[in-house]
């Protein structure tokens, strides 16, 4: 039986070192990272067909709602609880200690991060997944997959022991989400009519690029919490400098990422593509997240450019060569972007900026380890669901739209 003592937060009293300004900064960050949820919801809704809009919006709600509850019950303790090099196992129903911010401040900041990981997956699995099974997937990611690998880098696990540097989550959040998304898209298979009978890729245009563009702007704003507030401190000269530097590098990579996608599509496809510029901005942001505190401004511009160009190439490669159907490009943006950004942090890290050292080999090892773990676990989970309850909705539901059959209400009505 659960008693109130167990579920009430057990917080060590430590009024002496809790800092009001730091707390305000981190809570502001939590708000901004939460703002990425509507961002993801709009991007995914805009890049898919209108018959599935209510479904994809609902999935974004589910991610945050389930993430909040499950991260409280189990996730936080696996990620940050005392344990071994691979996972924590202490303090269920959230038991934390105050640091420079109250324990609950840390907890809410980590909760919004957790929900972001789950949300990445919904885009790649859009338009053809059974809603009930999506809830199961979202629960497993928030409760187990994300906290488990998160412990390696951020909870005192083996990667942090090696000196792996992922400041705000290129690997921990985005690459993990991207690898899970890849596994999901592979196991599900492409949408009906995505490939013709010769296997040639067909375009299924998103129904509203205005929603998509608005979502990317939301995400861009949200990233000003995701990265700068990951300093988790705002007091004193050093933190002020660090926060400001992270703001600049974050914004720079987003801008150069967008520019790179604009030029790439203009040259390769003949016209500058809005939907790819949206992805390019996001790829730049994902890429700079690992090293935003320890690379120079020039390096951040290069990271944005490189990650975005590789992302553009990856979108076509995954679609036309691998023939994996990822409607919103989540695998390329978050998976490829996160992988490359983490590795490039090892290339461009300048210890004179923030006193951080990142070794290229360790960066590559960490990124590959997390990607491999998330992908393998994802393949196992998705295949188990596929061969038991079934992962994919019926053909008729897919053709006529998940909104009507899965939810009984459509996003757009006469």
């Amino acid at each position: 039986m659960m008693t109130l003592d167990v579920i009430a937060p057990v917080v060590e009293e430590s009024k002496d070192f809790v800092n009001g300004l730091d707390t305000l900064w981190v809570l502001l960050g939590a708000m901004l990272v939460f703002w990425m949820q509507p961002g993801f919801a709009l991007v995914e809704a805009g890049l898919t067909q209108k018959k599935n809009t209510a479904n994809i919006l609902m999935k974004n709600f589910v991610d945050f709602m389930c993430g909040t509850v499950l991260y409280w019950i189990l996730g936080f303790s696996i990620m940050y609880g005392a344990g071994n090099a691979f996972f924590g196992w202490e303090g269920f129903f959230f038991i934390g200690e105050d640091s420079n911010v109250p324990a609950e401040c840390t907890f809410i900041f980590q909760t919004v991060f957790c929900a972001t990981t789950a949300t990445i997956v919904s885009g790649a699995m859009a338009e053809r997944t059974k809603f009930s099974m999506y809830i199961v997937i979202s629960v497993i990611i928030s409760m187990f997959v994300y906290p488990f690998e998160g412990h390696w880098s951020w909870g005192g696990g083996w990667l942090s022991e090696l000196g792996f540097h992922d400041f705000a989550g290129s690997t921990v959040v985005h690459l993990c989400g991207g690898a899970l998304a890849l596994a999901g898209a592979i196991v599900l298979g492409p949408r009906i009519d995505k490939y013709d009978k010769n296997g040639k890729s067909r375009a299924i245009p998103g129904h509203n690029l205005a929603l998509c563009a608005l979502g990317v702007f939301c995400l861009w704003v949200g990233w000003f919490g995701f990265n700068p507030c990951s300093t988790v401190a705002a007091t004193g000269y050093d933190n002020a400098v660090s926060m400001s530097h992270v703001f600049v590098t974050t914004n720079m990579a987003a801008a150069t990422g967008g520019i790179a996608a604009l030029v790439y599509t203009w040259v390769v496809d003949g016209k500058p593509s809005l939907s790819m510029v949206c992805n390019g901005v996001l790829a730049g942001l994902v890429g700079i997240t690992a090293g935003c505190d320890c690379v120079g401004i020039g390096a951040s511009a290069i990271i944005g450019l490189v990650v975005s160009i590789v992302m553009c190439f990856s979108v076509s490669f995954i679609d036309k060569v691998l023939k994996i159907d990822d409607p919103v490009g989540a695998v390329s943006v978050h998976g490829v972007g996160g992988l490359l950004g983490t590795i490039l942090t090892g290339v461009f890290c300048d210890s004179s900026i923030d006193g951080v050292e990142a070794d290229l080999g360790v960066q590559a090892l960490g990124a590959v380890a997390v990607a491999g773990f998330a992908f393998v676990v994802g393949m196992i989970i998705f295949n188990i669901i596929k061969h038991t309850h079934g992962l994919r909705c019926d053909k008729r539901i897919e053709l006529e739209g998940l909104d009507i059959y899965e939810h009984g209400e459509a996003a757009y009505n006469e």
């Binding site: 890729s201 067909r202 375009a203 599509t265 979108v315 036309k320």
Partner: protein, 115 residues
């Protein structure tokens, strides 16, 4: 009495409307239509090329007396033409009779075109 039906470019609708207001007819209907023809529009979405065979046009329909047929057709033709493929077509057909719902009278005097 004749019925003139014209399929025109959407971009030419405003000009055709002005031209018809300045001619003798009192009323016309218009509706956006989708057609499928031989011409294709190449598009690119996220690096994948595809062609749309659905073509959007505006259709207008006018019923007028014999004496205004030629001037109406000329009015449409003069402004709707760009010279490019896809300017559209004009169809002419016979209309047997017409009634005014308000007065109950019938015959081509119901059409309140200018004389």
């Amino acid at each position: 009495m004749k019925k003139i039906e014209a399929i025109i470019r959407k971009t030419k609708f405003e000009e055709v409307k002005e031209a018809l207001l300045n001619s003798n007819i009192d009323w016309f209907e218009y509706y956006p239509v989708h057609g499928i023809g031989q011409s294709r529009q190449e598009r690119v979405y996220r690096g994948v090329q595809y062609s749309t065979d659905v073509i959007e046009r505006m259709k207008i329909a006018i019923v007028c007396r014999e004496m205004f047929v030629e001037s109406t057709i000329n009015a449409i033709m003069s402004v709707a033409r760009t010279g490019e493929v896809g300017d559209g077509r004009i169809f002419l057909s016979e209309v047997m009779d017409v009634w005014s719902i308000r007065t109950g009278e019938n015959g081509d005097t119901v059409l309140r075109d200018k004389k």
